[in-house]
Every structure is written in C-alpha cells, then in structure tokens.
Amino acid sequence: MGDAAGFLQLTLVKAAPLIFAALAGVVCERAGILNIALEGGLTVGAFAAVAMSYATGSPLAGVAAGILAGAMLAGLLGIAATRFNVDQIVAGTGLNLLAAGGTAFGVAVIFGAPGASPEVHALGPRGEAILIAVALALAAVLQLGLDRTPWGLRLRACGENPRAVLSAGLDPRRIRIVATLMGGGLAGLGGVFLSLGELDLYSDGMTAGRGFIALAAVIFGRWTPLSACGTAVAFGALSALQFVLQRSGVPSELMQALPYVAALAALTGIAGRARAPAADGVPFDAG
C-alpha cells in the first residue's frame, strides 16, 4: 500500500509541470494562438524563479518572477501574432531557442559558472503539494470558465471565428493577447514547479522536452482543460513508472518516447477525430 501511495505521489509530481503547460497550451490554442513555445515558457519560468529566489532569498518572490517571465515570453508571441500577423509556428520555434539561449547565458552571467545554479531557497514539500493542488484545481476552473462564462465564450469564439467576435463589437486581438499572457503565466508556473517545487535549483535543459509532452497532452486531450489534465497525469504516471521499472531492463528511452508516440498516434485519429480550433494558429486580419 505504501508503494501505491508513493507511486501516486510520484505520478502527481511528474504530472504537475505537464498539467500547467498543457493548460497553457489549451488556453492559447482555444483563443487561436498556436503556442509551441510551451517548452520555452517552462524554461524561463524555472530559471527566473531560481534567479529571483537567489537574489532575494524568498521562494515566493521566485514564484511571482517565474509566472511573470513565462507571461513575458508568451507576450512576445501574442504581440507578434496579433499586431504583426507573424507565423506563429516559426515565432514559437524562435522563442524556444531564445529561451534556451537566454537562460543558459543568464546562468553563466548570474551564477558565475555555466550549466547550473547553486541550490536556493525552494518551496519545500508543502509548497510542492500546494502547487500540485493548484494545478488540478486550475484544470477544473478553466474547464468551467471556458464552458460556462462569457469570458470563455469569447475566448473560444476567437479560436473558431474571430470575425464573429469583431462583429459582436469585441477586439479579438485583445482577447488573444490576454489569453496568451495567461497561458504564458501558467507555463511559467509549471517551470517554477520544476525548479523550486520538485528541486531547489536550475540547470540547463532541465525542462527536457516537457513543453512538447504538454503539447501532446493538449492534442490527446482534444483541447479541453480536464482531458488535457487527465492526459498529463497519464503521462506523469508513465514517467513515474520509469523509476519503478528502472532495474527491470525496460529501456528508459523507449518509455520516455511513449508520450510523443501517443501524440503521433492521435494525429491519425485513432483516438477519435482530434480537431483543433478552426482558427488555431491563423492570424486575424481585421482588414
């Protein structure tokens, strides 16, 4: 029984950053912004949180910095996508590169040695548990918010038919920017969980592709918060299973590849038609 509880706990720890990032992806994509820079959001969030905790000694300030950093990175995407009608996929790729380069640069400059930060004041087991609860609660809140509130209706409309939103007298670009900022903050919080929740330091590459696993969870969860969260938990369980099976001879690389393969499988439609919002990734041109 102790083993089962331990496994569940490890599952939730591994799932939490995926849930945050997947919810970020859902919010952005339902508003019509295809944000493939979730990985970058996790990265800057994890880094900024540690840098702030290092500077102030306060992990709570670190949490705020991580959320802010994620929102700022996504804000770049939001502004580029709504004001300059850029290609969101290319911009997202650039943001991922920028985040990886910028944080590696920041580690070397701020901490004086490349690769990793020293240990800083972290959130501790209680903080970690609270963040896990926040992730799960946010999934439910966002599901309700998207389905049942005027805000959710507007946001979804932006992702399906932004012109209709304009006809209703609202500015789809504004709604999209706000959604992107929100999503970015969520991704940043996922990064905070990695660096200050699960661990107490930042090291280059610590996000290790989680942003892309989250993207897979968004697709597998068919762009709804609760399903995306459920998928993220399943992926978290897979990840926890690796620790259990470590000495059983099952190759860990192949286990790690499973979420990505699941996303590829979802593209074939075997899990039912996976349909992205109609205007997902499509620039809105008011003209």
Binding site: N85, V90, T93, G94, L95, L97, L215, V261, L264, V282
Partner: protein, 334 residues
C-alpha cells in the same frame, strides 16, 4: 518584409546583441571583435566557419524545400539525427575503399532522414495530421531512439560511450584543406543548393511544389495531387537533412552519437528565412550564421561572453523573421 523593415530588424538585433554582451560585462566592440576574429581571423578559423556553414546549409535547404511546398518542417533536427544514425551504422560496418563506401554512407543518411520525414508526410497526406506537431514530436523521438539504439542493441563492443564504432579512415570524407575539418561536404552542399535553385526555377516538379505551397486550392483544381506532394516533399526534405547528418558523421565526428548536432536543425529555420527560402541566398545566410556559430566560442574565450548569447540572438532573429508571410499559412485551408 520590405527592405527597410529588414534593415530595421537587423539594426535591432545588433543593438540587442550589443546589450547582451554588455550584460556579460564585456564591451560590445570587444565582443564583436572577438567573434569576428574567432570566425574569420585566419585560415584555420575560416575553415572552421565553413564547417559550421556546411552543417547549417543542409538542414536550411531541407527547411526551405518543405516551406516552399507549403509544409512546416520543424523536424530537420530529428531528420538530421536519424540520417546521422543510419550513416554511422552503415559507415562503421562497411569496409572497403572510400569511393564505394562514402556514396553508400551518404545514401544511407539520406534514406534515414527521408524515412523520418516521410512519417510526418504520410500523417499529413493520409490523415491530414499537422506536420508541425508530427515533426516536433519526431525530433524528440529521434534523439531518444537513436540514443537507445547506440547505447543498447547497436552498441559496439569496446566502445565506451553511447555511440557507434568509429568509421574506418578510408570512409572519411576527403578534406579540402589539409589540417582542417573542411571536407567535400561543403562542395556537396553548394551543388545541392544550385540543384535546388534549378529545380524550383526550371522544372515542372519544382513548379508543382511551389504551386502546392502558394496556392493549394488552385493547384488542386489544376490536377496537382496535394497529398502526394506533401508526402514527396516531406520525404525529400528529410532526405536533405539526413544527408547533412551523414556528412557530419563521415566528415566531422567520424562516428555517430546524439551530440552530433547542437541544434543545427532549429537554427536552420532562421537560416532558411534569412535567405528568403531561396537556395542561393540561403548559402549566404548559412555563411553568416556559420560566422556566429564558430565565432561564439572565441567570444566566450576571449571576451568572456557566454556562447549562449548567440542562441538568444538567433532565437530573437527567428521571431523577427517570422513576420515574413509564409505561403504555408494559406495551405492550412486545404
């Protein structure tokens, strides 16, 4: 993007780069000087810059090839890795004279990259699945799978790390300049760029690809099979990137491991966009980015600016360049 906008973007990037160097506590001028000296300061530096140029040129041509056909191949990195894996496995197993083994190794690389690209192409052609998501996922699967194979089932006896056995010296690509790592891979890449320029400008096949990319609905009405085009274009794009991976294996590392690429497949997107998706201009862009890649190390050594500053500025460049309207956005509508 207009000419004026390009200049503004370029100026902004230089300003940001200067700011980043200053953040690292160095004088921007000294930083730039160290970068240029490290990249162009002598025969050895220039040849190393050309090695980086070559490494970027293959995936950049791959990216451009797919983009021109309206397909977002974000997967050049994975295709390059699988191509390198195939080349490394073939190269370490094949004995024999170079004029036999080298073409086989390069063909193996192209086949591996092509197969990896074909997965995304097939998902797109058969199921209408987004090639963006597919290639993003395949990048990571490629690295995991390749690492698993060279660490596990394909791991050669007597080799310490997760890599293939070294290639026999006879299978190494011939060097152009003695004492450097500059090989005929550069010549192959340049010939490929010229060939692609010709294909796009002068052949029915190239016209078909461009039509599918620029006006998919009109192309479909004119009888072009968009599904088949997607499959063919993604496969060939992957093959180009895979060929690049093979030249890294046979020309630079002389073995395969997953550290083969420090993200060439991603920087290649910037290279392709700076080059306006035009093969000839991409050569110039690859040289410019080659300077950044090879100069970043000396900037770190001489001016104490962490080399990652370059990746930061490159990422910013991609964001800026994404404003170029790419035909593929229109292709979503099919």
């Amino acid at each position: 993007m207009s000419r004026a906008q390009r200049w503004i973007l370029g100026g902004l990037l230089v300003a940001v780069a200067a700011g980043v160097i200053a953040l690292a506590g160095a004088s921007p001028l000294a930083g730039f000087a160290a970068l240029v000296r490290g990249a162009l300061g002598g025969e050895r530096q220039i040849s190393e810059t050309l090695v980086q140029t070559t490494a970027l040129l293959f995936p950049a041509l791959a990216v451009a090839f797919a983009f021109r056909a309206g397909l977002f191949n974000i997967g050049a990195e994975g295709q390059l890795i699988v191509g390198g894996l195939f080349a490394g496995v073939a190269g370490s197993a094949l004995p024999g004279p170079g004029f036999v083994t080298i073409p086989l190794i390069l063909a193996a690389g192209a086949a591996g990259g092509g197969a990896w690209g074909a997965i995304a192409g097939a998902l797109r052609a058969r199921f209408g699945g987004s090639e963006v998501i597919a290639t993003l996922m395949l990048n990571i699967v490629a690295a995991l799978l390749a690492n698993y194979l060279v660490a596990g089932p394909l791991h050669p006896a007597g080799v310490a790390g997760a890599e293939t056995a070294p290639l026999p010296v006879s299978s190494w690509l011939p060097v152009l300049l003695p004492g450097t790592r500059l090989t005929i891979a550069l010549v192959i890449a340049l010939a490929l760029a010229a060939g692609l320029a010709f294909v796009f400008a002068r052949t029915v096949f190239g016209y078909t690809l461009r039509a599918a990319g620029e006006a998919p609905q009109a192309a479909a009405r004119a009888g072009i099979d968009l599904r088949r085009t997607a499959l063919v274009a993604m496969s060939l794009s992957g093959a180009i990137a895979g060929l690049g991976g093979a030249t890294l294996v046979a020309g630079v590392l002389h073995r395969f491991n997953v550290a083969l690429s420090p993200g060439y497949g991603f920087i290649a997107i910037a290279v392709a966009l700076v080059g306006g998706l035009d093969p000839v201009r991409i050569v110039a862009a690859a040289f410019a980015f080659g300077i950044l890649q090879s100069g970043s190390l000396s900037m770190q050594a001489l001016a104490h600016v962490p080399k990652d500053a370059v990746a930061f500025v490159e990422g910013l460049a991609i964001v800026g360049l994404s404003a170029r309207r790419i035909a593929a956005s229109a292709a979503r509508a099919d």
